[in-house]
């Protein structure tokens, strides 16, 4: 394919384009089949989404309640043997409450574990932001590299007995389990059709269980719930909201619902009114959208995730997203821009996406909603 895509979940590289140009006949086949495949897939998922959406709405709540109850039921602490039984995405595990070597690969868990005082033996340090994660500059932690180019040798070197896997490293679950056959691997990833926030709470509580830090976990959950209640309280149920993602000077649209990156699930959490009723197709990076379409939808609120914010931080007060959205001539008549109803996600959001990040985001959102009243 002649397109260069650096999305972490898509794996074409710079070179693939050039190379494919070499095998001329291959290009056409590749390009055509890839696109045909994409379309067919997209159609299928669209149909699926449409049919499952209503279903999900009615069933997800009860399902989560059931799941939560189940998890609690199995988490019985066995003080004498020093193990707890925890249920993760792959079943139930007996986990030692005093693990000697812990590997953490899950972005959404770093800060929680830091708060619990867990010292990992190995982690993907390249995926951490030094200003957010204390682990990032800890020399005693073996580096597992980036998810695109992991250094899994260090999994062996760390001799782990507990591995908290997840998010970007989910794809290496199999490899890691083969490299560390004796270790317990726990994964708490948001399940399909489940509420992302509920899943974050499940993860936090489960981690609290594993590391005997139930109180700290409960504290985190409580903070999140407090901010959620504030948003719920302040949102009028009518104002239209649109999620945007900015990167490299371009604006993408984040679809409401479980498919929209980071912001999408929030629509369901607070019953936000989407400004544009359109199924998105790109789950992780949003769909290309023109300023005209945003202006036509005329949202009352904009929730903006700025992917470049963290990297451009060196320039004081420089916000690429604000420049793109607020200073856009075409968007100046949009209600959200006119009234300043724009909430930017925490600048490290793209690297964290954890319970703390959502707490901060909801707090900002609640502040903005309250101020606008």
């Amino acid at each position: 394919m002649p397109i260069r895509e650096f999305a972490p979940q898509n794996s074409s590289t710079l070179r693939s384009r050039s190379l494919s140009a070499l095998s001329v006949s291959a290009i056409a086949v590749l390009a055509l089949t890839a696109c045909a495949g994409d379309d067919a897939e997209a159609d299928a998922t669209e149909a699926e989404q449409a049919s499952s959406e209503t279903e999900a709405e009615t069933t997800s709540e009860s399902a989560e309640e059931g799941e939560g109850a189940e998890a609690e039921g199995t988490e019985e602490e066995d003080a004498e043997s020093g193990t707890v039984t925890v249920e993760d995405d792959h079943g139930t595990h007996e986990v030692s409450t005093d693990p000697q070597s812990v590997i953490v690969t899950d972005n959404r868990s770093y800060r929680t574990l830091e708060e619990f005082g867990v010292q990992p033996s190995a982690a993907p340090l390249a995926l951490m932001d030094p200003e957010t994660h204390a682990y990032a500059e800890d020399d005693s932690i073996l580096d597992l590299g980036m998810h695109r180019e992991p250094n899994l040798e260090n999994v062996v070197a760390a001799e782990p007995d507990l591995i908290i896997n997840g998010q970007r490293f989910q794809q290496y679950y199999q490899d890691i389990s083969e490299l560390a056959p004796d270790a317990t691997i726990l994964e708490f990833e948001p399940q399909e059709d489940a509420d992302l926030i509920e899943e974050l709470i499940r993860k936090t509580e489960s981690l609290g269980e594993v590391f005997s830090e139930d109180e700290a976990a409960a504290g985190l959950v409580e903070e999140l719930e407090t901010e959620m209640a504030r948003v719920q309280e302040a949102y009028d149920g009518e104002s239209t909201v649109m999620g945007l993602l900015t990167s490299g000077g371009d604006i993408s649209y984040v679809a409401p619902g479980p498919n929209g990156r980071a912001i999408g699930p929030v629509f369901d959490t607070f019953d936000l009114e989407p400004a544009l009723e359109q199924e998105g197709e790109d789950e992780s990076h949003g769909d290309d959208i023109s300023v005209e379409a945003i202006a036509t939808a005329n949202p009352d609120w904009l929730l903006v995730m700025d992917r470049d914010a963290r990297i451009s931080q060196e320039e004081e007060g420089y916000s690429p997203a604000a420049e793109i959205v607020e200073e856009s001539e075409a968007l100046k008549n949009v209600t959200a821009v006119e009234e300043g109803n724009i909430v930017y996600l925490p600048e490290n959001f793209y690297l964290t996406e954890d319970i703390q990040a959502y707490t901060e985001f909801f707090s900002d959102f609640a502040d903005a909603l309250e101020a606008a009243e």
Binding site: S18, A28, S247, D287, I311, S312
Partner: protein, 354 residues
């Protein structure tokens, strides 16, 4: 050098074309005398009309209701800039392909197969790495500079290669491009700019609105310059020896062509992104139908370039409205098909690898 560029050329043209090294794919159509070939033929006028029609279509296609209260205002800040960018990018990238094909005497060369776009990408990433938050102009400067250096390196490399079959030249370019792009990827990876880079290179007109396209006007300068200096490129296209024989300062022309290609590629890469295959298919399609006279082909290359980009962009922005598909993706699909078609056609005539 400019004094005696026309007379000897026109006289020797028929004989000269026979002297093109065998590596060059032969012109498909028999050559008519270019002197009498008028620029503004009825066919060209029809072509202009069709292209204008496409541009009008581009102006009226979009999400915002143009005939509403402030529709005209929106029209001015999104549709007009976008259409101007389409025209400039389409014309200049198609002509870049043409210039590079003449300078390398190879039909399969254009900025994406000579590594020029990869070098532009390296320039972009270097600027962003060393000066985060650099202005659009600074980024563009980096892209243009590196594109220029890269293309010069390509030519220097090419001069040391004795075997210049039609496949070797693009392979060298692709090879160099791959090496450069791996550097770019490494820097991007280390500085967390990988995704930004990917978005730049997707080649999309979605973000081209007032305030974000003005740099594209620079490309117009290149386009005009190409028109002015077209004859020299035609002579250079005969090869270094032949061009020097008829009194052309080959190195100067090479340098000038490289600079033009670098500016056009760098600016387009910064504002729009990569437009794959455009420089490859447009000049080839034009010479398929019209033979190889640069001067009378130039308007055609411009028109076909503009029309191709406009059609691809129109497809990209209507197929999934209100969302858009990057023009580079559409162009890649269309371009690949045309490219294979061209190859098959040449093979049928028995002229691909000689």
């Amino acid at each position: 050098m400019p004094d005696h560029r026309f007379t000897p050329l026109r006289g020797q043209r028929g004989a000269a074309s026979g002297a093109i090294p065998s590596g060059v794919a032969e012109p498909v159509q028999p050559r008519r005398s270019p002197r009498r070939q008028r620029l503004f033929t009825p066919a060209l006028l029809i072509g202009i009309l069709i292209t204008c029609g496409l541009l009008v279509l581009s102006l009226t296609t979009g999400q915002y209701e143009v005939f509403s209260e402030d529709g005209f205002w929106m029209f001015g800040i999104t549709r007009v800039p976008r259409t101007i960018a389409l025209v400039l990018a389409g014309a200049s990238m198609a002509m870049c392909g043409l210039i590079m094909q003449l300078l390398t005497q190879n039909r399969f060369v254009e900025p994406t197969t000579t590594g020029t776009t990869e070098w532009a990408g390296l320039g972009l990433i270097l600027v962003l790495w060393l000066f985060p938050g650099a202005s659009m102009l600074a980024r563009m400067g980096g892209a243009v500079t590196m594109a220029f250096i890269g293309t010069i390196i390509f030519f220097l490399f090419l001069q040391r290669v004795t075997l210049k079959s039609s496949l070797i030249v693009p392979i060298i370019g692709i090879m160099l491009g791959a090496v450069v792009s791996s550097f770019t990827t490494y820097i991007a990876l280390m500085t967390d700019h990988l995704q930004t880079l990917g978005i730049w290179f997707a080649g999309s007109f979605t973000g081209v609105v007032e305030g974000r396209y003005e740099l594209m006007w620079l490309v117009l300068v290149v386009t005009v310059l190409v028109f002015i200096t077209a004859d020299q490129f035609t002579v250079a296209g005969l090869g270094r020896d032949m061009a020097t024989n008829v009194g052309l300062n080959y190195t100067a022309v090479l340098f000038m062509g490289t600079a033009m290609v670098a500016v056009a590629t760098g600016v387009t890469a910064t504002v729009v992104g990569v437009l794959p295959f455009l420089g490859l298919i447009v000049p080839n399609v034009v010479s398929l139908f019209r033979g190889d006279d640069l001067r009378s082909n130039l308007p055609w290359v411009c028109l076909v370039g503009i029309a191709t980009v406009t059609v691809c962009d129109l497809i990209g922005r209507t197929i999934r409205a209100p969302f858009e598909i990057p023009v580079g993706l559409v162009l890649g699909v269309v371009g690949a098909v045309v490219f294979v078609g061209l190859l098959l056609r040449q093979r049928r005539r028995g002229g691909l690898v000689t």
